[in-house]
């Protein structure tokens, strides 16, 4: 199978200190990965590099098997990869407008936006929040709205930074239940997390950042 996204080398430094130096780092299409490691290992940084939010030194980047220049961050990856923060932030518009944000920004037709937003809101179980002020949402609601905001874009890679951090009870379970449905739709999901229930999800491949290298488990 052709890798969806691969790096011959992915090297991140902070000054003279190497945070990590990964060789032959590869993401397969439609797979789910959990990225673990101690605090400070670079999990969030790796996701942010993949999302084009942080610079790194890279070599031999391939997307869909074709070589790709990684800097400046290419449009092909910007269209394919969506990153969701550990604590997602809401724009001060409305919940549907938040979910529609990426589609609107990409100039999608209004009918398509409406259709996808309704579908994503139902998928994330946030239809009842249609008239809510985004600023008043709970942590779990924000996380589900953020997942819906990412899902409407039908990303090929979805990067989730600690998606269940600071959630408990029903909110956490609701978010965990959404993850397998994402890979089922063909999206590659990479989650930085410590959550045992996410790590133990079926068909999830485990990556561990340790001492600047990645271990495949």
């Amino acid at each position: 199978m052709t890798a969806l996204l691969s790096f011959g080398r992915l090297h991140k430094r902070h000054g003279t200190h190497t945070l990590f130096d990964l060789r032959d780092f590869t993401l397969e299409p439609g797979s789910a990965y959990v990225l673990t490691g101690v605090n400070g290992a670079g999990k969030s940084t790796l996701l942010r590099i993949l999302a084009g939010l942080v610079h790194a030194d890279v070599e031999d980047v391939r997307f869909d098997g074709a070589p790709l220049a990684f800097r400046p961050y290419p449009r092909a990856l910007r269209d394919a990869i969506v990153y969701v923060h550990q604590h997602p932030v809401m724009f001060s518009t409305s919940v549907p407008a938040n979910i529609a944000y990426g589609l609107t920004a990409r100039g999608a037709p209004r009918a398509l936006i409406r259709e996808r937003v309704e579908e994503a809101m139902a998928w994330a179980g946030v239809t009842h929040l249609t008239g809510s002020d985004p600023a008043t949402l709970s942590g779990g609601e924000k996380q589900r709205v953020a997942l819906a905001r990412a899902r409407v874009l039908r990303p090929r890679v979805l990067l989730l930074d600690e998606p269940t951090a600071n959630l408990d009870g029903e909110a956490r379970e609701q978010v965990i239940a959404l993850i397998p449905t994402l890979t089922g739709a063909g999206t590659t999901v990479v989650m930085a997390c410590h959550d045992r229930d996410l790590i133990n999800l079926p068909d999830v491949r485990r990556l561990k950042l340790r001492d600047g290298h990645i271990e495949y488990r």
Partner: protein, 235 residues
């Protein structure tokens, strides 16, 4: 008693729609508004770019902008006078002692105020907002409009403060405008002139207008800040 009479006469001038008085008010408000309309996109755009990007000389630009906040307007008037005078490099524009000259001064005076406020507002914005916009495929322009919308209260405060600064300045308008009746006489230059002539009624009337504008501007600013605090309180 003279003061009471002057105040009475001032209200009479205001309430009877004295054409000379209202012409002065119109010139002041229109040149200030026009200057602000020209300065706002420039300053807000520059404030956003400076806040969001690292580049060589960034700190120098911020330092200069902040220093310009405390620049006496009479000095700006002097510089503009030299530029716009008949033998100056911009003399061909014939803006000296004309409203475009006053507007040019208002733009220069408003720019650092608007820029500094916008810079502060954008720098104070949650960095995840811009990252979320970028990570969802927004173009640079879209990221900018998204972020400026999120800090709209700060930008509106900038515009209100800029308006307050330009409508209340006297030095630049006096030097560049020349205080020509019906043409370049603004509220502040008229107050200075009428007071020197001993005609306190018109000066007081114009002072009342300036105070009313200041109160309205600051009231609007307080309302905006209240809305902003309320929005932050909800999040």
């Amino acid at each position: 008693m003279a003061l009471v009479d002057a105040v009475h006469d001032a209200f009479v001038l205001l309430l009877t729609g004295d054409p000379v008085l209202w012409r002065i008010i119109w010139i002041s408000v229109s040149t200030s508004m026009f200057g602000l309309i020209l300065a706002t996109p420039l300053a807000v755009g520059a404030g956003y770019v400076i806040a969001m990007h690292q580049f060589t000389g960034r700190r120098l630009v911020i330092w200069l902008a902040q220093a310009a906040l405390s620049l006496p307007t009479v000095l700006i008037g002097l510089l503009l006078y030299l530029l716009l005078s008949r033998h100056g490099p911009l003399g061909g524009l014939q803006w000296l002692f004309a409203q475009p000259g006053i507007v040019a001064g208002q733009v220069i005076i408003a720019l650092p105020v608007l820029l500094a406020f916008t810079l502060t507002a954008v720098q104070a914005a949650d960095p995840r907002l811009a990252e979320t916009a970028i990570a969802h495929g927004a173009s640079r322009w879209r990221v900018m409009t998204t972020l400026l919308y999120e800090v709209r209260f700060g930008v509106m405060a900038a515009v209100i403060s800029g308006f307050g600064r330009v409508i209340s300045e006297v030095g630049c308008a006096m030097m560049v405008g020349g205080n020509i009746a019906g043409e370049t006489r603004t509220i502040t230059t008229a107050i200075a002139l009428e007071t020197s002539k001993g005609d306190f009624a018109q000066g007081i009337a114009l002072g009342i207008v300036l105070v009313t504008i200041a109160l309205a501007m600051n009231g609007a600013l307080m309302l905006l800040q209240g809305d902003a605090h309320a929005a932050r309180g909800r999040s």
